[in-house]
């Protein structure tokens, strides 16, 4: 299946979970949040959230600003 991660297209095996995207990104252990199709998914639910074809995922963190 194809999903969009931070604006880029990724090919993932069927049955992939949100946590698989995060581990492929090498996400730091803290300071990160994830939105799936425009809604925040808390860290505790990353492993149990299955992805579907066409899903849009945003992975964000805090940067200098404001």
């Amino acid at each position: 299946m194809t999903v969009t991660v931070n604006g880029q297209c990724w090919e993932l095996p069927d049955g992939s979970a949100l946590a698989d995207v995060l581990s492929r990104l090498g996400t730091p252990p803290r300071g990160v949040a994830v939105a799936l199709d425009g809604a925040v998914v808390p860290r505790a639910f990353w492993a149990g959230t299955a992805l579907r074809d066409g899903a849009s995922i945003d992975v964000v963190t805090a940067v200098q600003g404001g």
């Binding site: 949040a33 805090a62 600003g65």
Partner: protein, 253 residues
């Protein structure tokens, strides 16, 4: 001299200078500036993660010195965008505090008052402690407090302009009617303007560019810290009334 702490939503802060982290040339300079400012609360933006950037980020710097990060919604144009960004900030930083920014356009970076009030109301309902960056409009400031914002943060002039406080009377009106702390946010260019904000009765000053884009950011951060203290003291001390004609301070001959 002794001063009461700044209290926002029941939390006490010894420092009345909130330093934003935007605009610093690098993290080392930012770290020195944060320490010179003696700030306890500092804004950060929420952006897509750049894994290739690597290395220690701004959060590591803040954690090292026990400075509280305040996530903002910078760059958001609509209430919907701001609400999602605030939710991401809450999840990423495990704080329900948010500096709410909803900007109308890139040229002025002025707040969009309609979207701002809408977002503020939604976020307050969702349990956020909302600190809105707002226009220097006493009516809008009152409406933001009415919907439950924990502070109001009127601009002195547009973000990054360094034009100081363009409408001091509006800031005084906002202060005069405020039931929540007033934080002068945006437009400060130099120390005298930070002092002026405090003399007008603001409870704190939030600034970034004036320090981070100065030629010597740590030195400007120290200047701002002292200016905020000086302005606060002057406010508490009660200035003399202005007079048209001179009044001798020495006894008559």
């Amino acid at each position: 001299m002794a001063d009461d702490p700044l209290v926002i939503a029941g939390r006490e802060f010894g420092s009345r200078l909130i330093l934003g982290t935007g605009g610093a040339a690098n993290l080392a300079i930012l770290e020195q500036a944060l320490l010179a400012a003696q700030t306890e609360l500092t804004t950060v933006a929420i952006r897509r993660i750049d894994i290739t950037a690597g290395g220690a980020g701004v959060l590591d710097v803040l954690a090292r010195h026990g400075i509280e990060p305040l996530p903002n919604t910078a760059g958001c144009r609509s209430a919907a965008e701001a609400v999602l960004t605030a939710a991401l900030g809450r999840e990423a930083l495990q704080t329900s505090w948010v500096k709410l920014e909803v900007i109308a356009d890139d040229r002025t970076l002025l707040p969009d008052p309609i979207e701002l009030l809408d977002a503020a109301e939604q976020l307050v309902d969702d349990g956020f402690t909302v600190l809105p960056y707002t226009n220097d409009d006493p009516v809008l400031a009152r409406r933001l407090a009415d919907v439950g914002c924990a502070a109001v943060m009127p601009l002195g002039s547009p973000i990054g302009t360094g034009l100081g406080i363009r409408n001091p009377h509006n800031i005084e009106m906002i202060v005069a009617q405020a039931r929540v702390p007033v934080v002068l946010d945006a437009g400060i260019g130099t120390a005298s303007e930070a002092a002026f904000a405090m003399e007008l009765g603001c409870d704190a000053v939030l600034l970034a560019s004036a320090v981070t884009r100065a030629e010597d950011p740590p030195r400007m951060a120290e200047a701002m810290r002292l200016a905020v203290q000086a302005g606060r003291n002057a406010r508490l001390a009660g200035r003399i009334p202005q007079r048209f004609w001179a009044r001798a301070s020495s006894p008559e001959l």
